[in-house]
Amino acid sequence: MLTEKPVRITDSCVGCGLCTQACPFGSIAVVDGLAVVADDCRVCGSCADACPVDAIEMTKSYVKNIADYKGVLVYVEQREGEIHPVVYELLGKGRELATQLGEELYAVIIGNNITKQTDQLIARGADVVYVYEDPIVATFRDDPYTQILDECVNECRPSIFLIGATALGRALGPRVAARLKTGLTADCTGLEIDPQTKLLQQTRPAYGGNIMATIITPNGRPQMATVRYKVMNEAGIDEKRNGVVINRRVPKKLQDRVKTLGFVAAKEQISISDADIIVSGGKGLGDPNGFKLIEDLAKELGGAVGASRPTVDEGWITYRHQVGLSGKTVRPKIYIACGISGAVQHLAGMKTSDIIMSVNKDRDAPICGVSTLSTIGDLYEVLPLLIQKIRDYKKNA
């Protein structure tokens, strides 16, 4: 229940009526020369933005009413106008949850030159797309993006808010959740609606995947989750779907405490978190040059290069390649482990890959216990032959 009106009109109001035009819900009117806010106000802040004399203040001292929060909101991560593919998976899952609840699916996109993407988001299942387009927010920065998502949630009031568990998403999610004062479940691999309570049941791995936990957010709204990439099914495309695009102005007073001085794109074309195929090397390579062979095979397969912890600790390859508990958790379609015995910490980071193949000298190595196909042999003999076979096959194909 609202304990206090969330919008306060101060004495400086001149009754110009710009706020009534700005309000998307028709919840503010000018009566006797002064703005008056109706009870159905959704606290979106459009009126305060539009007010030329700053006479409208947003108060936050009201209690959230859970019943006011409806629908599923998806954060659309983009870089240079290109949508991160995890977003299509979020839309797929989000659509399913929204339909089950009988509610709407919203998407929010922040950036520059992004309006062209709205058709795509609607075709993938969004009913409403909020667009915050401005050159000032062209690239991701934690502060302004947090502020805008906070505003968007306060306007849209979704019951569920999903963010991709990418590096950016996992930095942004906790900032937004803390500002909204609600719960956030990290890196979910399962999302379901409890048919009785209608609460979102969020399932996620902990302890390096040795334990799964199901978590609910009974009292906070929205129920927020970051969702692991490449787990949910992508939304299908239906060009005939209809949806609404709501263009919102980026706030005038934008908090922006961290300056971006530069960006250097990663050398690898595919990072291990994005790759469908990963070829990994371990201590069995014997020395850093062994990674040349791993790179060659990865290149032939269009995959990324992974590594076990000892090779990173030895300085044979950089940390961004490390798979495992203290590196990245990956779930490619194919994982080829070469010269990796399979310490539990490594297995924790890759054992849910769809297909695991290994080349290892020791048939008792733990990696064989999780491999769909284990080959017992010397990688320096097997890999060159394999690479040659693939090259010959491609030439003749």
């Binding site: 590096a167 930095a171 803390a178 302890y207 040795n210 799964m212 001085l261 999780v370 284990s374």
Partner: protein, 265 residues
């Protein structure tokens, strides 16, 4: 800055292995016989704090929240070179989710005093969320930069650093104070010295209970948490593997045909 920097490193005590089991009747983890250590990611945070101190001067204060025996993790941090240790421990803090933990730690930081930089590990090996640092930053109303892999300089209250994202490396600059989480690329953690170990034995571990913090119990611990764990289970992995031995050509063939079968080539 002539007085040096106030550096706070947040650490967590975790179980040494993640090969954990839980008691089906009580739903609790079986911790018996498993050693407790500093969360491995936090070793990089401690190392980062020590290196900043060595370069710019200042004090490294380690802060943890946990049961009374988490004191050992703080002593281990002193052995590595930290100057002061603080342990938030009180039964009313128990059962906190990442938000309630971040909130309580932020209140501890305010109690400890002025700070210039708070350093956290990337995530913990048990909860694996990486959320507490940024949530704490939000409560303290300071910027948070995650995945820092290099600190370039700290001068006149301005920090310049790099962070590693999925797509590449960003070069960033901001004013102190702030919260950072550090990647493992940042520095190789040192080992404790003998002198450090002796200092650790004698060190005073400052206890912060709710008597000192005076927080509304509705905002902390299980009650202050927005999330609730309703089920814990062991994942089922259906597994049917094939082991092939033979000459290198046969082994290469086996992989080649499997790759063809799944249409990768």
């Amino acid at each position: 800055m002539s007085t040096g920097l106030n550096i706070i490193v947040c650490i967590k005590q975790v179980l040494e292995t993640t090969e954990v089991e839980f008691d089906k009747e009580t739903g609790r983890l079986k911790r018996e016989g498993i050693a407790a250590i500093i969360n491995p990611f936090d070793e990089y945070a401690i190392e980062t704090g020590l290196r900043i101190k060595e370069k710019s001067g200042g004090l490294v204060k380690v802060l943890s929240m946990g049961p009374p025996n988490a004191e050992q993790a703080l002593r281990d941090a002193i052995a590595l070179g930290a100057d002061e240790a603080y342990l938030a421990t009180d039964h009313v803090f128990a059962g906190a989710d990442t938000w309630a933990t971040g909130y309580t730690l932020a209140k501890c930081v305010q109690k400890i005093g002025e700070f210039d930089i708070i350093i956290c590990g990337l995530k913990t090996t048990d909860g694996d969320t990486g959320q507490t640092g940024p949530e704490m930053a939000e409560v303290l109303d300071v910027p948070c930069i995650c995945y820092v892999n290099e600190i370039i300089s700290i001068k006149d209250g301005i920090i310049t650093l790099k962070r590693s994202l999925d797509e590449g490396i960003e070069l960033l600059e901001t004013k102190l104070p702030l919260v950072i989480t550090v990647s493992k690329d940042i520095a190789h953690p040192r080992l404790a010295t003998l002198r450090g170990r002796i200092a650790a034995k004698k060190a005073v571990i400052n206890q912060l209970t709710n008597k000192e913090l005076d927080l509304d119990v509705k905002t902390i611990g299980l009650e202050g948490s927005f999330t609730r764990v309703i089920k814990i289970f062991t994942p089922q992995i259906n597994f049917d593997g094939e082991i092939i031995q033979g000459n290198p050509n046969e082994l290469a063939d086996a992989i080649f045909y499997k790759l063809k079968e799944v249409k990768v080539i």
